[in-house]
């Protein structure tokens, strides 16, 4: 819980890297359609009409808004930041399309260029890896690749807005079924103003033939990003879903309040991986994204399985607890996380596993790395209800501290109302020891390489859960984020 002292042995070379630039920090000059600042029912009506939504959805939004105005932001989390002026945020910003898109080839060249710069190709023929991408800029989905190919096997992968138009019954059935509009302050805000996101439906018995991926990009200034993702895996279906995020360098804070809902029916499996690299703010803590996100999976069917894997290196402040409600008998929930806080970053993150069904099983592996002035708090809930006969949980929280000014904290909540429940919790806090660094350096390994090697070793358990391509990316990201902060 305390911040031990270490590492006088950090060299000047490493310190010089301390203010390494955030390489995704560019701004693209897009012609953007923006709503006036602030939030009221008219703004919500505007968003809803811009998106040509059915009446029931507008009603749902307004219910959420009316609930939200009765709430106050949560204060229990172990982070500190000034008050957010919710009336000073732009709730709708969309890159203006040059014309209506007939095909992917007609994606605005500036948008395409922006994604190229991010290393994400929106041209299907250019992608070798067989990953379908839904690209979201500010509030709106700008392109979804491989749609037709996926449709052949019955998989629906499109933007949320399209799903509302083309699959309204599915959306109506599942929207808010896992994260209701009144779940919490940020989830209510999201329900009121969400503008787009990804929608994904895997029909019964289908093993989704490629990785699905959403790439989020905040571009416009002073906008909040409120996307909503809904993934439904029918009986016996399987899907692996990847999510990546970046934002430009800006000296003001940007709010990202997303909601992700996953539904797994009998024998279905959803694997959800995130590599989050929102702009973390500068070395003095100016700017950066507030990442206040509600992610939850409902393992509603028997033998269903939901896995969250996340590598979080960005954001000024992170507040998220991806969880699984284990409702179906024998269902499985997993959470594998690497969270890095460097510079002045703060994270209060962890997982919630709610055991309802019999013989449900959950695993939480959390690796927190704090460097610079970073503060990292693991907060997790394991809740075993009366009905959860034979439920089991294993939790392991490891924290690694680098430098004298970082902190790591572990706050596990365990509620067991069932005599047959089994809960194991292991926690460790270590620092990159002078001893480990010296050992590596004595063998000839330069200091910065040694730090990266030790940290990657620390995270290996989580990295191996990521899809191959992502794992390599995550490893690089961690190395870069770390180089920028040791010392």
């Amino acid at each position: 819980m305390s911040a031990p002292t270490i590492a006088p042995g950090i060299s000047d070379e490493v310190r010089e890297l301390a203010n390494q630039e955030y390489k995704y920090g560019f701004v693209t000059d897009l012609d953007t359609d923006v709503a006036p600042r602030g939030l009221n029912e008219d703004i919500i009506r505007l968003i809803s009409s811009k998106k040509n939504e059915p009446e029931w959805l507008l009603e749902w939004r307004l219910r959420a808004y009316r609930h939200w105005i009765t709430l106050t932001p949560p204060t229990w989390q172990h982070v500190s930041y000034g008050p957010v002026d919710y009336q000073d945020i732009i709730y709708y910003a969309a890159p203006k399309p040059k014309k209506n898109l007939g095909s992917l080839d007609e994606v605005d060249p500036e948008v395409r260029e922006m994604f190229d710069k991010l290393g994400i190709s929106l041209g299907e023929q250019e992608r070798l890896s067989g990953v379908a991408v839904d690209a979201i800029v500010d509030s709106v989905s700008v392109a979804t690749t491989f749609k037709d190919k996926l449709a052949e096997v019955g998989v629906i992968f499109c933007s949320f807005s399209e799903a509302v138009q083309n699959h309204p019954d599915l959306v109506r059935q599942y929207l808010g079924s896992v994260v209701p509009y009144n779940d919490n302050f940020f989830a209510s805000l999201n329900a009121a103003v969400f503008t787009d996101g990804s929608f994904c439906y895997i029909p019964k018995g289908v093993h989704c033939p490629m990785e699905l991926s959403t790439y989020f990009r905040i571009n416009a200034a002073d906008t909040g990003q409120f996307e909503r993702t809904l993934i439904i895996a029918e009986e016996g279906a399987y899907v692996s879903y990847l999510e990546g995020c970046t934002a430009p360098v800006r000296d003001t804070n940007q709010l990202h309040a997303a909601v992700v809902e996953l539904v797994a029916l009998d024998d279905a499996q959803i694997k959800y991986s995130t590599v989050q690299n929102w702009y973390p703010g500068d070395a003095d803590g100016n700017g950066g994204v507030y990442n206040f996100v509600t992610k939850r999976g409902m393992a509603s069917g028997k033998n269903s399985k939901i896995s969250w894997t996340q590598v979080e290196t960005g954001s000024a402040i992170t507040w998220k607890y991806p969880g699984v409600v284990l409702k179906g008998d024998n269902s499985v929930g997993e959470f594998y996380s690497v969270a890095l806080t460097a510079r002045r970053q703060q994270a209060d993150t962890g997982s919630k596993m709610v055991h309802i069904g019999k013989n449900t099983k959950s695993t939480i592996i959390s690796k927190a790395i704090s460097a610079g002035h970073g503060q990292n708090t693991y907060r997790g809930l394991v809740d075993m209800r009366h009905s959860a006969v034979g439920a089991r949980n294993f939790t392991q929280c490891d924290s690694l501290l680098i430098g004298n000014d970082s902190g790591a904290h572990t706050l596990p909540y365990i509620v067991v109302k069932n005599k047959t429940g089994q809960v194991e919790h292991e926690a460790s806090t270590s620092k990159i020891g002078e001893e480990q660094l010296l050992y590596c350096r004595q063998r000839g390994i330069p200091e910065e390489e040694a730090v990266s090697m030790i940290v990657n070793g620390f995270c290996r358990e989580v990295f191996k859960m990521l899809p191959m391509e992502f794992a390599v990316e995550a490893q690089k990201l961690l190395t870069v984020s770390l180089e920028g902060s040791v010392g």
């Binding site: 010296l438 050992y439 350096r441 004595q442 390994i445 090697m453 070793g457």
Partner: protein
């Protein structure tokens, strides 16, 4: 190859080394013996560049000022320490670690790096020296290793990295007789005209296996006596106190623990 002159080292105002003088020629094996707290391990630490000591005096290594180099530069120059307490590095594979180390050294020396296949062949050959099998290489660095396995792993690294100056810090401590024999055989196989060794130990036992060219006795931060291998036998018989008494006139009374 190594000339230590009037080497002093202190930590938090406690002087531990109080003027060490030592000369080691290429290909020689010298043993440093002495009681607990006499400064033997501190000498090793100062030679590899561990942080936290105030150091004065000079250490010339192949004509270079060793004390001016960073730990990794010293490694690249051929200095190796078999640690007394090798640290564990969870999640980092032993094989990967050794390959990274060797390639870092090669890079610093302007040599071409070894690819994983060539490295594997090299490692397998050297593993025979310390009777280790492949399963060691697939584990994380020192994680869950027994005391003896850790020491063998140190000697394996020495065999792979091929240093010019190897310092063995209490490599015999915690070893049973079989492990001691394996480690000593490994070390002896690595003796060569171009490689010098500094063997730090409490016990004469190790020196039955690794026969030194010179033996130095260190007490209270100084080398108080030097001799050939028979000195070790004499010490075993009479203890360090005899040496300390013989030199009592030269030394200020100290009780520094390290």
């Amino acid at each position: 190859m190594l000339k230590i002159k009037e080497l002093h080292a202190s930590i938090e105002d406690k002087e531990i080394l109080r003027g060490v003088n030592l000369e080691l020629n290429a290909g020689e094996v010298h043993a440093i013996m002495g009681p607990n707290g006499s400064g033997k391990s501190t000498l090793a630490s100062v030679l590899i560049g561990r942080d936290g000591y105030q150091v004065s005096g000079s250490v010339s290594y192949e004509g270079q000022d060793l004390l001016a180099l960073s730990p990794e530069e010293r490694a690249a120059a051929g200095v190796f320490l078999a640690f007394q307490h090798p640290v564990e590095i969870p999640g980092v594979g032993n094989m990967y670690f050794m390959r990274t180390a060797l390639n870092s050294l090669r890079r610093q020396r302007g040599q071409e790096e070894l690819d994983p296949v060539d490295f594997l062949a090299l490692a397998q050959e050297r593993m025979k020296l310390v009777e280790m099998d492949q399963s060691f290489m697939n584990r994380s660095v020192n994680e869950g290793f027994s005391g003896g396995e850790k020491k063998r792993n140190e000697i394996l690294q020495m065999a792979i990295l091929e240093p010019k100056l190897a310092i063995l810090d209490e490599t015999d401590s915690g070893l049973d007789i079989d492990a001691l024999r394996i480690v000593a055989n490994g070390v002896n196989a690595l003796r060569s005209a171009g490689r010098s060794m500094l063997v730090i130990t409490h016990h004469q036992r190790l020196l039955d296996y690794i026969v030194p060219d010179r033996v130095h006795v260190m007490t209270a931060g100084q080398i108080v006596r030097s001799g050939d291998k028979d000195l070790a036998v004499e010490l075993e018989a009479n203890g360090y106190t005899s040496v300390q008494q013989a030199n009592a006139g030269r030394l200020a009374p100290v009780g520094v623990a390290r």
